[in-house]
Symmetry: C2
Subunit: 152 residues, 2 copies
DNA sequence: AAAATAAAAGACTTATTTCTCTTTTATTTT
DNA sequence: AAAATAAAAGAGAAATAAGTCTTTTATTTT
């Protein structure tokens, strides 16, 4: 559904949103929190920073954080910033030209579920994930013992 | 949503299904009908053939066709054969371990839309696309003049 | 039987995505 | 001011996906 880059982006953004009182979060903490490649997530967040979806500060006590506006940002915004809007408006069968007047065989059905995805991601605002960290309700990485096994 | 391979696979299978009276269809005709790379679609159909989703015969008047069972095959079957079932059962955020007891932050919402996609693709049986070719209702490739422009 | 046709098979190339490494720049602490 | 910290920047390697090319095998027509 999403590219790996996009999956990491969403997980990192939710992780940053979950930090208590918009504390600045370093790449290290993010890597530890969501289990992802260090340099890769750095570059991804750099890109999101350029687009204004996340804020950052260099130096000691620096890191990534979300301002008021970014907290109102939805997962759909992140997906669009990373993967473009192909998922939300592209043809399911990859036709460049697919529309009401030139529909592919699954155009109408696909349009519906495609829109359901968009609605779902539009509803999910970063601010709503705030503070749920540590309450053990949801997870941003697999369970640790499985990881060790996999990586060995 | 789907890999390019999977998009071609679905388009080719629908094209074969649309042929009048389960006529055997050659790679050439398929390439012409859905506008795709010759050798690539040959390999894709070869793979689907091995899994029994499409039938084929070599030699003059040979080609690809669908038997009774294959006509009852759904698009979901094709997607599963080509892309695996990651789309239908995988975590939206790419977690290896994501379940009711260890959910990612969008597990429940994602599960719903993921299932909507599955239901939609399960409903779409190849047999139902039969005979709609040439009636100008749906299309399996872009409009021709756009193609020429793109390819130039 | 020979020629022609069309899929099967497999090696190979190209493009894209994913991920890594090194250096630079900004900021803070000592 | 110097040292330490952490993101920015950019080049490049590795892995995977997408697409190409050539040869082989099966079948049919002549």
């Amino acid at each position: 559904m999403f590219s790996k880059t996009c999956e990491y982006a969403i997980r990192a953004m939710i992780f940053i949103a979950q930090q208590p009182d918009s504390k600045k979060t370093s790449i290290k903490e993010i890597v530890n929190g969501i289990d992802c490649p260090v340099h890769f997530i750095a570059k991804i967040l750099q890109g999101l920073g350029k687009k204004g979806l996340v804020q950052s500060l260099k130096g000691p006590n620096g890191g990534f954080f979300l301002d008021k506006k970014s907290l109102r940002c939805s997962l759909a915004n992140i997906v669009r910033a990373v993967d473009g809007d192909k998922l939300f408006s592209g043809c399911g069968l990859g036709l460049k030209e697919c529309s009401e007047t030139h529909p592919c065989p699954i155009h109408h059905q696909f349009k519906k579920v495609r829109n359901d995805v968009l609605v779902m991601l539009n509803k999910a605002k970063l601010g709503e994930f705030a503070g749920q960290l540590g309450k053990n309700q949801t997870y941003l990485k697999g369970v640790d013992f499985l990881f060790i096994k996999d990586k060995k």
